[in-house]
Symmetry: C3
Subunit: 285 residues, 3 copies
């Protein structure tokens, strides 16, 4: 198993490289939180560019070193934009992050998610309900009743999606991150957990979306597993620090962006996390 | 007439229930202020989900306990999304809030507003010019020259739309709220007025839009009249408190979200308002 | 040559008139920064209204006294909306600001920019790479290799686009503003430079976009050259003041909106700038 200290070292390196190189991670993302996604990407040292049209998605798949697709709001043109962009990313071997927001609303989302199985994301990020829903849609876990997605909220506990996350990571060859009070990140071999953050992160819109965008920024500089973990640690650290300064969700959001910006690579790599083997889960699965 | 103390009690109950139950009020809303709408809905204790596609509007009409439609920015697909969503809400008897922003711009808005007369909103919220324009469009008041909508701004005084608001409420069987220095809320029988707020509310974009979204959150727990009034009181209270802390519109918006979050059900129900009968207006109309 | 003091006087007048008249400058602008554009327009004293549909663009071209078109995010309907809006502005002789964000991404942007040559903007605002790209697209400068646009970022220095800006201004009969550490504004005869601002302006999304929107607000009250310069000075002043109060990009954005709001016409007109003749550049070009 990779030593914890090696993981820390790689996280510190990735966070430092992003600050040094200001890498661009373009997005097709929802209109609700698009501004916060871009500002979070800039705060950690990256650059942002958002597009909607099919040929623009393809072009940006080539121009960026990683990409972010968030399904939170769907426009008609996405029926063409998202598959073409995912295919272009796949062909160019560019890492990309998928945020499968709103599964179960309308017909297009499920249709697109099924197509993504052929061009899978390097990092799948969501709450427990969303991860479970993707695993069911991709037939990676047994169907055991309806999933607990409620609009954009999760009604399932993080732990309940642990096995689903491991299975997805093994299927895609990438990483899966489950957001919750304690976050889990897995590449199918290791499962890392990290607490921190703040209850205020669920009192502002876009904490999850912007985390996905930030993971894409880190994915320009390191492998999917470390990129996802670097994002999680940065968020848990900045969330905790911002909470200490906030009176409510308005001031929390302001402080959160400040703290994302102020966190050094050492701060981020030093935030607590635990590493376990995914093996046991697999045996029991 | 309902005693003022009974209204206060119901407002306190509605505000408390929202904090307890975290109810979802989905929206089809404009792209300019969508982030602020969601953050305001979260700050008062609700949950937000925004969609654009026709079948997604219908699905969310079923998933949420109330809905918010804001016409501020129009996409081509809205020609189908808005009527289908309003119809689904009507059939499922779900309360919904309509914000008729931008009447008079282009052809689609008026066309949609005319269709809404058959599936009327539980709460119509707007500035005086918008309320007057809807009343004229629905032939509820006599046409007396052009209405004073200027883009998204009002050029009419709140009082000038009082009778139009009462007529609309009687026509829809719901409530109408007119925003201005002193807000009016009517269900066609009572007219409640409440002052407070802040001039800064018109120096940030989305104060009205987010109020509409917050009314939809409260409409998941109480009748349209009390839901509209709870929103108005929460905004007048939070606006007043935030102004005392703000240096300009940037800090005002931050403090405003904090104060929305910090206001207790008792605070909200305790904000001053006046109740009158709508009878006199009707006789003189 | 116009005396510097006359320019200052006109800037002071334009800034004061905007505060007095609250003029509306509608926009077709990108979804990433649309909220910040509107809030900045409101902070300086103007009013905002954003639209997407072709007939709404035409209608707003008539209702506003100036207009803002930002190409940052493209929807399919823009293929019709943008040319029809630009044509309507041209026919009504309304001043408008063009922000050519994202040149080189997909096919639509270049197609639209080529069409705009027939209905040219009163003010073209962009970073150095964008100004160079427009000049090349309009065949105003010799093609000397690919331009340095990277998504929405500039890879060229402001000075490198000086001649291109002068040529564009002479071609359009309007003004061109290049944003960077030191901003340049030219009407083809004079070149004004102004420093100030803050490195934080590139750590938040939308500084350039919102500056374009603010220039459109000022263009309702003065000529394109002075409108562009008033915007630049207001931004350089507010950016500098906000930086002194900020801990990071979150607090910077809040303070920046406050400082835009608090800056008096005298403050804005008093911010340092240098005036030169554009003649020399032309001779050497």
């Amino acid at each position: 198993m990779i030593a914890k200290e090696d993981i820390r070292k790689e996280i510190r390196r990735a966070a430092a490289m992003v600050r040094e190189k200001n890498p661009m991670a373009p997005s097709v993302t929802n209109t609700v939180t698009v501004n916060f996604v871009a500002n979070a990407q800039l705060a950690v040292g990256g650059s942002a560019a958002m597009v909607y049209l099919p040929d623009e998605g393809e072009d940006m798949a080539g121009m960026g070193d990683a990409f972010y697709i968030n399904m939170g709001t769907q426009f008609p043109v996405y029926a063409e934009t998202l598959p073409r962009t995912a295919k272009a990313l796949h062909e160019r071997k560019k890492p990309w992050v998928l945020d499968p927001v709103g599964i179960g609303i309308g017909a297009l989302r499920e249709n697109l998610l099924c197509q993504f199985r052929s061009f899978p994301p390097s990092i799948l990020r969501g709450n427990a309900s969303e991860i479970l829903a993707v695993a069911k849609l991709w037939k990676l876990v047994k169907e055991t009743g309806g999933c607990g997605v409620r609009g954009v909220d999760s009604t399932d506990a993080v732990e309940s999606a642990r096995e689903a996350a491991i299975e997805i990571a093994r299927c895609t060859g990438g990483a899966v991150a489950i957001s919750g009070p304690t976050d889990l990140v897995t590449d199918g071999r290791l499962v890392v957990s990290s607490a921190g953050g703040s209850p205020f992160l669920s009192k502002i819109t876009g904490a999850g979306c912007s985390l996905g965008g930030v993971m894409a920024v880190y994915a320009t500089q390191t492998d999917p597993f470390c990129a996802a973990l670097t994002g999680v640690l940065a968020y848990n650290l900045a969330g905790k620090r911002a909470e200490a300064e906030a009176r409510g969700p308005g001031s929390f959001q302001m402080h959160f962006l400040d703290e994302l910006y102020l966190a050094t690579p050492e701060d981020i790599a030093g935030h607590p996390f635990e590493v376990e083997s995914a093996q046991q889960e697999v045996e029991n699965f």
